[in-house]
Symmetry: C2
Subunit: 430 residues, 2 copies
């Protein structure tokens, strides 16, 4: 891996390079996606089945569209029992963490008869998109469904493209069923997003769509935003390890590669105050790359977006981490909790040498759907908050309104909104 001495110029160049991976550059497919969405809006199920025939090579009918209880049962027979056990253990942890995010409606009342509050209501219907294709990620199914379930969403509707055999990949079905999905439909791509956003004969419109997907799915989600809510559009995965001389180079190297293997656009960065660590990590990376099964992807990702950055002191290292605002941040320093207090921007923060990033991907409990590409400066991990919405509550007595009615009328009059002023005045007219 390349080792770079941190300077302002270097940093600016690296930040610019990382931004090239932004998911905001898909313009050229927009027309295709809009056409698919319009067709689904108009022709509903019929359009879905045609696209599934065309893109997935499978004939789906109204009868075979929704996954049946029997298909779910069958899926269980095809998944390794030990893996089901691991999934169940992960679910316990993921649920426990997300249950701590649950918020309550609150109110505050005063003896003059005023009550103000905030009502929390779960979304009614949520759509979860699960990609098909080669890579099957049951962990992603869990991470998208469980927070919705914990929030109290009435119906969780999953869509995923069927395989050539017209079935959903067994492990996907098992994970979805264990997490508590309510409905599963065999449709993928932009057409699935259209179905969830507008509704068809078989699929009722949802309030929000979450889950990862290819560029067509991402563009479709962006297009229907406002009509329904969506989660943020995820970019390629990232890890930044912030380490001093106390870090174990072998662990750091292994953790960098765990993200580099995701895809060629993934980014793995070490920021360290120790030149010695920098060299050792670079050597360890070279050793691992030789033996790992996805070495080709790893090498490409490291060449394009991998860096070992040597900072002059911890302050500069921390500033750099805050500017990059990585999806995953590992802190491997003498006192990781102290370092953490200085971190402003990161999706998930892993503290100390035994908090390896993949622990968060699968098992610890926090969500692995995280802000990428610098958006940790303003976006948050997927959470129960994404599946609720708030309503303000205002209740005033005559007595309480009377005390302030003139002030409100004056304010409204200053804004030249006389009907606003009138609505208050009419309650105190003689």
């Amino acid at each position: 891996m390349r080792i770079v001495k941190l300077t302002e110029t270097e940093k600016a160049g690296i930040l610019e390079n990382l931004l090239k991976r932004s998911p905001n550059q898909y313009g050229k497919f927009e027309a295709t996606v809009n056409e698919i969405l319009e067709n689904v809006k108009k022709n509903k199920d019929k359009a879905l089945f045609e696209y599934t025939k065309k893109f997935d090579g499978v004939d789906i009918t109204t009868k075979t569209f929704r996954v049946t209880k029997e298909e779910i049962k069958e899926a269980y027979t095809k998944v390794d029992e030990h893996l089901i056990e691991v999934i169940r253990k992960a679910i316990v942890n993921i649920k426990a963490y997300h249950e701590k995010q649950v918020r309550y409606s609150w109110f505050d009342s005063k003896p003059d008869g005023t009550l103000l509050g905030q009502k929390i209501t779960a979304l009614e219907r949520v759509g979860v998109y699960v990609p098909g294709g080669k890579a099957v990620y049951p962990s992603s199914v869990l991470m998208n469904i469980i927070p919705a379930k914990v929030a109290g969403v009435d119906r969780i509707v999953m869509t995923t493209p069927p395989g050539k055999d017209g079935k959903v990949y067994p492990i996907t079905l098992v994970a979805a069923n264990e997490a508590g999905v309510d409905e599963v439909y065999k449709v993928g791509g932009a057409q699935a997003i259209g179905a969830l956003a507008y509704g068809t004969e078989s699929i009722k419109k949802v309030d929000k769509i979450v889950g990862p997907g290819n560029i067509f799915v991402a563009l479709a989600k962006k297009a229907v935003y406002g009509h329904v809510s969506i989660d943020s559009i995820a970019g390629p995965s990232e890890i930044l390890v912030l380490a001093d001389e106390t870090a174990n180079p072998r662990y750091v190297a292994a953790d960098l590669l765990s993200q580099a293997e995701h895809d060629e656009m993934a980014s793995a960065i070490l920021v360290t105050t120790s030149e010695e660590l920098a060299k050792k990590v670079s050597d360890e990376v070279d050793g691992f790359v030789k033996v790992l099964s996805r070495s080709e992807i790893i090498q490409k990702s490291l060449d394009a977006y991998g860096y070992i950055l040597v900072a002059k002191d911890m302050e500069e290292a921390i500033d750099t981490a805050n500017e990059i605002a990585s999806e995953h941040l590992e802190i491997v320093t003498k006192n990781p909790f102290d370092t953490m207090t200085r971190i402003r921007n990161a999706g998930a923060i892993f503290l100390g040498e035994y908090s390896s990033e993949p622990l968060g991907d699968y098992f610890a409990g926090p969500n692995h759907v995280l802000p990428t590409n610098g958006t940790a400066k303003f976006f948050s991990p997927l959470s129960v908050d994404d599946f609720i919405k708030k309503s303000s509550i205002i209740s005033y007595s005559r007595e309480a309104l009377e005390l302030i009615h003139q002030d409100i009328e004056d304010f409204a009059t200053a804004e030249k909104l006389t009907a606003h002023a009138n609505s208050i005045a009419v309650r105190f007219e003689k």
Copy 2:
């Protein structure tokens, strides 16, 4: 006002009519907006000053661009002292309400050395857009700045187009200063959004942009979303009054008109179980329209999007309110709190006959930036939550990781991510 007996067909037609007001229909100005944004990105301040000359007819220079302390002082001399007092009283209430929304970072630890948590961090820089033009809304300035301030945002940066005299409207400056703004710049339109999103020589890039604006501003916000965060794009204002025979028709009529006066696209709807109330409200509306100063706007808005809907029972009335998911919902029934428990979708809920909607616009404390056009099904009022972001915290001891390391490796292997498995395995190699 037209009185309509509720049927499924009527309801479907009304819902479709209301959706026509959606802010998602601005396509034709997109190219213009993108051109402005590109120009600002490239030419920074120079582009801003050129657009201000062109659109606002004012010569702004680097020296006069940022509002000075002297200009703020001068603004105070031009605003009615009583109005400043009213603004200060409103700020006390708005702050008190939003302070109740503040959330804390939390963690949960176990004796085996695991710690999981959620860290709350305020956004660093927030941009608040304030429209210029004829309508001056100091209340909007307060509602956008105060939650950011309460959240702990470091720098709140306001932009607003200057008047012909090269100055910012005094009441806007006074409201912004009282609410705690840090920087104010004289620039409006899509160019202001570009400046906030990309940064210029004078304005440093922000993390999030909030505040209302015309279609150019709305489109620009949509275009920069992802690069920075934005609040939701607001559509025209709405009120829905849910009333039974106990409601006072004069109050209901006045409240309906308080929203109808906003603009010709505003919507005012009464849903009631009482035919008698329906008729009386219609008469009262006719009476008020004759005497109110904005009667022309009101009449147009009522003709296009105003309805008095008569439901066969309260259940049907509540279902309709939930389907419309109004920005403002007034409940004027025998037992408004009981009715409120049955409400699923609304931006702000006003209970009882003294909780008139304008009370929430100015004074009570809850935010008046609310989800419109049915989006209360999944969006929330502007709140402190909009100005913070979360990071997950994960800290595991060797002991704790050892207990589960095999499970994680198995999960990673099932997903064919061997570098993920390796990063855990390497910590327990002999």
